[in-house]
């Protein structure tokens, strides 16, 4: 008998990192790790569910029907999995282009002349982002944010590389952003807010990078960055390459 097929809830995202399946709940801003052995038992039960390759010397434990049923039940109860295709999506992990370079390399890149229009656009981006985030704590990505970004931007985003003139402009805008940011907020504990401001600021000038969320396990870390093609906008490939993308807008 064909097992009932389930779907991943639209509020959840998954990826394979190390020997774990990492699940992220955008509603609560929480992560859950499922061991590879347990996660693999759901392969035939959930559309698009990834199969995690186990370590070289690890023997795949015989997958017990009971283990799979237990995990399936737990995930259904938590709302990670849904039986209704209309409320769910395939559990296929996101596929993001590997990053190769970053926008700001040399320290001279920070030297930029501030323009009144840039300052105004920056202020608008900061204000609108502050309203969207309602200055709440970093853990949550409010549904409103996800919907907003997904609604207007997905159609405009593509994975091409920056053209030369776009790169020059993006560098100028990032340098402007970095110069103005310290005037308004400290970014040490407001990473999501800051990325949203930068995303909107760039958007006003016709540049639409992807916002990528990544995780690593052992030790567990989560982080996000902006990326255009294979170019990291606000960080370095050395950092982003150590993380597995779990979500992308």
């Amino acid at each position: 008998m064909h097992p009932t097929r389930l779907w991943l809830s639209r509020d959840w995202f998954v990826c394979c990192a190390g020997a774990y399946l990492v699940c992220f709940d955008t509603k609560e801003g929480r992560y859950q790790l499922i061991s590879a052995e347990a996660a693999n038992t759901l392969k035939d039960h959930v559309f698009g569910w990834p199969l995690i390759e186990l370590a070289e010397n690890g023997e795949s434990p015989p997958s017990s029907g009971r283990q799979g049923v237990d995990l399936k039940r737990i995930l259904l109860d938590k709302g990670v999995l849904v039986p209704d295709a209309r409320r769910g999506k395939a559990a296929t992990p996101v596929c993001v282009q590997s990053t190769r370079d970053c926008l700001l390399g040399e320290y001279e890149d920070l030297k930029v002349k501030l323009r009144a229009s840039d300052v105004l656009m920056f202020a608008v981006a900061a204000t609108s982002s502050g309203w969207t985030m309602s200055l709440r704590k970093e853990k949550q990505i409010p549904k409103g944010v996800v919907r907003q970004i997904v609604r207007h931007k997905l159609s405009l985003i593509c994975d091409r590389e920056l053209l030369e003139h776009e790169r020059i402009e993006a560098k100028r805008l990032l340098a402007t952003f970095l110069r103005l940011r310290p005037l308004l907020w400290k970014s040490a504990d407001q990473n999501l807010f800051e990325r949203l401001v930068l995303l909107r600021f760039l958007k006003y000038y016709g540049l639409q990078p992807r916002w990528v969320f990544g995780v690593s396990v052992e030790p567990f870390q989560y982080y996000s960055w902006l990326q255009f093609g294979s170019t990291v906008i606000d960080d370095s490939p050395g950092r982003t390459k150590s993380l597995v993308p779990i979500m992308m807008f």
Partner: protein, 617 residues
Amino acid sequence: MQRYIAIIWQENHSGQCSTALKLRGKVIQRFADWSISVDAPGMFVCRATPSRSEISNAYVLSASQGVVLGQLFERKYVERCEGAGAAAVRLEFDEATSWRVVNTSGDELKEKYWGTYVALLRNDLTRQKMVLRDPSGGLACQSMMLGEIHIYFSNIADILLAEPIPLRVNRHFIVGSLVSSGPFSGETAYEEVETILPGQRVVHTCEDSRADFFWNPLTISTDHEDISFTEGAALTRRTVESCVHAWASCFSGLALQLSGGLDSTIVAACLASAPTCPRVTCINFHIQRGTSDERSFAREVAERAGFELIERRSGGRKSLELNARQNRAVVPTLLQRYGEWDEVWRALRERGSMALLRGDGGDELFHKGVREMPDSVDHAFRHGLGGKLWSIAMNDALIERRTVWEVLALAAKHGILKQPFDWRRLYRLDPKLKYMTDEAREYALNDETIWHPLYRHGAQWSPGKLLHSHRFLKYTCKFYMPAAEKDELPTLAPLLAQPHMELSLRMPLSLMRFGGRDRALARAAFAADMPTSIAQRKFKGLSQMQTDDWISSNPQFVRELLLGGYLAQENIIDRYKLETLLAKNSTARASAISSLIVFISIEAWLRNAEVHGMLAA
């Protein structure tokens, strides 16, 4: 490590003479194959015959005025950027030079020379004897008393062979080191043993003995370099390169511990351009988990420099008990002997390596920065309100991810108004303190004597430079090599060379972190010699995963060691909190790894001391 024993006494005191001569006789008998460097009234110095790879010269002064043990280079070669020229010259102290060294009380050494050394000097006219330890602290110098005579040595096991002196555990040091994170006060973990701190000088006169610092980083830091960023980068490059080249010229083959971080990459770049072209073998320890695996960076560097790279997986299931036996120093040293070092030493020696170089101290010397002390505080302290303060504050805010207003507030408070900054409160954030008992913690936090003597009262110094210098001085004090294993290579930290430390002290902090980058001067100085990925790197992999593996695979041993150990019995750490931490399913353990390894190191050290019969009954 160079092994030596020095005995100092007052020759006009018959009791001291008698004790000194008895001890001298025992040392000569016990170490018949050692060579005697000084044998004169009031001073006796002998040293072990060096192995091929040891840095163990003895620069004997004329007329039995003393000896300088270790390795010296002449400073003029660094100033001329002829690093490799320094070691090629065989140094000898003629009569005039010897006279100057003794009559300046060793100041001549710091002005004209650098290296890693301990100087033992005697002045016949004044009957003074002096002991100096070089600012980099590369050669150990401990002291103890036997009656009224003073004994100086590098390896405690040697002196105990000649004269078994029962030792007692120094509780004051153990408690203090949990707060101050190391041996920075001059005390050691034995009550009877003290350490001469790097840059310190002890003067013995007929009446008494007193200690001072012939090399004071705080006074050096007041002498500021007024240069541009480009000039600063060029000067940094010349100085670092010269120092590395000088060390490289001492060996035909070298090993480099290459993590893939900025500091070891800079050392690699300098070795690649060394005029003496030593054969360099790089060693990288990695753990294949998450961000701790930095092999790709190390491979890039090694390939670019044309060096062989040996990769070794570290941590894992190596027995912790085995490691615990290897700790026989006068202070507990961190059990960081991960990986199969025995095999590594053999592999490196097979490739002709004669010493192991590391990038220790680079982060601090190149100025990674301290979030609580922005560079604009130092600038405001020296220059007050000025045009550059705004741009420096913006730079601080960018790097530390703060607002410029927060930074300016700190600059105003501690820089312009010069309100004292209690840098010691930064140590109150140390996670180890959470596991100490209230009594032990309060006792240590309120005790001035656990800190380095130069930093106990620092109100008159720029808080920025005070913190900066304290952070890398901790490396010089920590850089102590315990009794070597059979094939172990001597370890050197070429970045901790005196000329480089002095340059770093004189360089404005804001210049060292420039354009939104920490260690900006170092990055710019060596940008052409390192892969872009490393020049731009902003983060480092986490090495604590290795320790976590280690602890997880020895749970029973760790529980017995800690819960039944000295720290718990002496009510220094809270047994209940430790039990909770060590419980099988404890989720707090991951964040407490750095604290656990310190506790384990202390207990392992104590266990070793007991096993080897070093402690008094």
